[in-house]
Amino acid sequence: MVEVKHLKKVYQMNKDNLVFALNDISFTAETKEMVAIVGSSGSGKSTLLNILGGLDRLYEGEVIVDNKDIKDYNPNVYRRFKVGTIFQQFNLISALTVLENVLLPLKFGKQLTGQEAEDRAKYLLDKVGLLDRLTHKPNELSGGQMQRVAIARALIAKPEILLADEPTGNLDSVTGKEIMHLLFELNAEENMTMFLVTHDLHLAEGIDRKLFLRDGQLVDNI
């Protein structure tokens, strides 16, 4: 379960000009729940994503993950084991193979043994339909395939939260639908809370829970 309480993030542009990237946001999301965070550019959704991802720790308020404030976690441990992220740009490491990319988050901290990690990686790559591409490099894959590798990589450490930042933004509509379908499927299977960040309301269709952000404020929570 993820609880966000009175989350506030302020940028001081100059002496008299404060910008509220996030202004007193509170919500709760259950395990296995899929939450769409919808908002236009500048609404604060990226800021929220960075805070949930453990990349931005300068904020006011509380974010409780697994009954513990994320500020109480070691930031590296939180990023390694509590959260997985999927990016619009896929962000695979081009020098590494598909399998190595998927295993990469586990290289930073021991959680599984080598064999367990490889079995988990192969299980996930089978799930995303890329078991036959283990030794391929990212530049030998299509956009949809790269995003599938990124999904497997985000899930390798069995995170509590999966953050998907415009995951279909760089894909054609057919491939985008396939990726969304895959995310729904994996969300049900893996015990996690998934946040899908998008500016596109169509993408959020089919997701029951929606948070609408505008100018740093939560304007609708349905």
Binding site: N50, L55, N76, V77, T85, A95, L96, F108, R153
Partner: protein
């Protein structure tokens, strides 16, 4: 992590190679110090120790005679120089601790001509020196070892080599010293010295090691030749007005320094030196070479590290997004630091190994020529550059060290990147 670091280095092969070149040059200079200088010193010390015994002092007023090239640390006004006259020789022999004193005169404007041969050996360095064949000056000796007297003389192995005969074959042969018209650039030629000829019989052949000495006659004989060529009435007049060229003073080893000081205080010779002086002088030269190589090595190491730092900064600039991705997946600052330090260490290692390969190959080839040359001028060596594993490992470790040092700043920069900003960069 290591594999990832290697893949980052391998991604820009040409840049990596060019960057590591600086280290290669530094390693070459460093290896010359480690492998070359020590061997050079050992070689020269052994050569000097065969020539200069630890209980001997050499005094000279001549420089560049060919027989001895002393290190003249002081230059004095020619007018003030004490002549090495018979009186001076007698005085020095009375100093406490002096056991033996041998004056030497050198004739260097004659050629040596073996009886019945057309060709003459020139330029010849002929010394008048009352030495027995047992003297420690000789590395090797063939024939009658008693002192040369009158018509009986010693010639060096160089003469036997010149006429292509075994040293033993020269013994008993007639030999002439004839006036040289061509030998020795700058030697004063006078009307009197033209067409002079002095005939002798060879009674012994010697090997002077790395020294250059072509014939040894009795002091009496050489002084007579010098007086004759120079137009003096007698050899006594020659000695009293020109003096001997060289004195070899033998003394008790523990009193040698005191003897030298006494001589130094009383007389003003152009050169007075012991084996220790020569070794000290040699060490100064070796040290100067070492310092020069070290300075060049250090400069190239600094330039190399600037190159590595520059390359690493470029690399981090290009990989900012990847650093952001790694951090978002939980890579710690230390792990990012490690990835980039490994990269700079790899560049250092590459440069070091390349440098060592170049050094080892060129020394293998150099060894052949240097040993040949050294043997030709009388040094008995089988190998000049000697390798050892520990020095090689030190060189590799130093080059890796330079790489790591140069990588510290850029790696810290990479480790401290803000992941949010890094991940957004293109």
């Amino acid at each position: 992590m290591i594999k990832y670091a290697i893949s980052l280095v391998a991604r820009r092969k040409l840049r990596t190679i060019l960057t590591s070149l600086g280290i290669t040059i530094a390693v070459i200079l460093l290896s010359l110090i480690i492998f070359g200088m020590q061997d050079l010193r050992t070689l020269l010390v052994s050569a000097i120790q065969t020539q200069f015994k630890s209980n001997e002092i050499f005094i000279t007023n001549s420089s560049g005679t060919g027989a001895f090239n002393p290190p003249s640390s002081e230059t004095t006004d020619v007018n003030e120089t004490t002549l090495i006259t018979q009186e001076v020789v007698d005085d020095i022999s009375k100093i406490d601790g002096v056991t033996n004193i041998l004056p030497v005169t050198v004739v260097n404007n004659l050629e040596i001509k073996l009886d019945g041969k057309e060709k003459a050996y020139a330029p010849a360095f002929i010394s008048g020196w009352d030495l027995t064949g047992d003297d420690s000056y000789f590395v090797d000796f063939w024939g009658d070892k008693t002192k040369p007297t009158g018509d009986n003389i010693f010639v060096s192995k160089f003469v036997a080599d010149f006429y292509n005969v075994a040293p033993e074959e020269l013994i008993g042969k007639k030999v002439s010293f004839v006036t040289s018209k061509s030998a020795l650039f700058g030697t004063v030629k006078t009307k009197e010295i033209l067409d002079k000829q002095y005939d002798y019989i060879i009674k012994g052949v010697f090997d002077p090691g790395s020294d250059r000495n072509d014939a040894i006659v009795s002091l009496n004989t050489s002084t007579s030749i010098l007086a004759d060529i120079g137009g003096f009435d007698s050899k006594e007049e020659y000695v009293s007005s020109v003096g001997y060229d060289l004195l070899r003073v033998t003394g008790d080893e523990e009193k040698l320094q005191a003897i030298k000081t006494t001589i130094d205080e009383k007389y003003n010779f152009q050169g007075i030196f012991t084996a220790d002086d020569v070794l000290g002088f040699l060490d100064d030269i070796i040290q100067a070479f070492t310092i020069a190589l070290f300075v060049f090595g250090a400069i190239s190491a600094v330039i190399a590290s600037i190159g590595i730092t520059n390359t690493m900064i470029m690399s981090i600039y290009e990989q900012t997004k990847e650093i952001g991705i790694l951090k978002s997946m939980g890579a710690s600052n230390m792990q990012i630091l490690g990835v980039f330090l490994i990269q700079s260490a790899i560049i250092g290692l590459l440069g070091g190994v390349t440098g060592l390969i170049i050094v080892i190959l060129s020394m293998q080839i150099g060894n052949i020529f240097i040993v040949e040359q050294l043997n030709e001028i009388g040094f008995q060596v089988e190998t000049f550059f000697n390798f050892n594993l520990s020095s090689t490992l030190i060189v590799v470790a130093i080059s890796i060290g330079i790489g790591i040092l140069a990588g510290i700043y850029p790696s810290l920069k990479a480790a401290s990147l803000n992941p949010v900003k890094a991940i957004r960069s293109e």
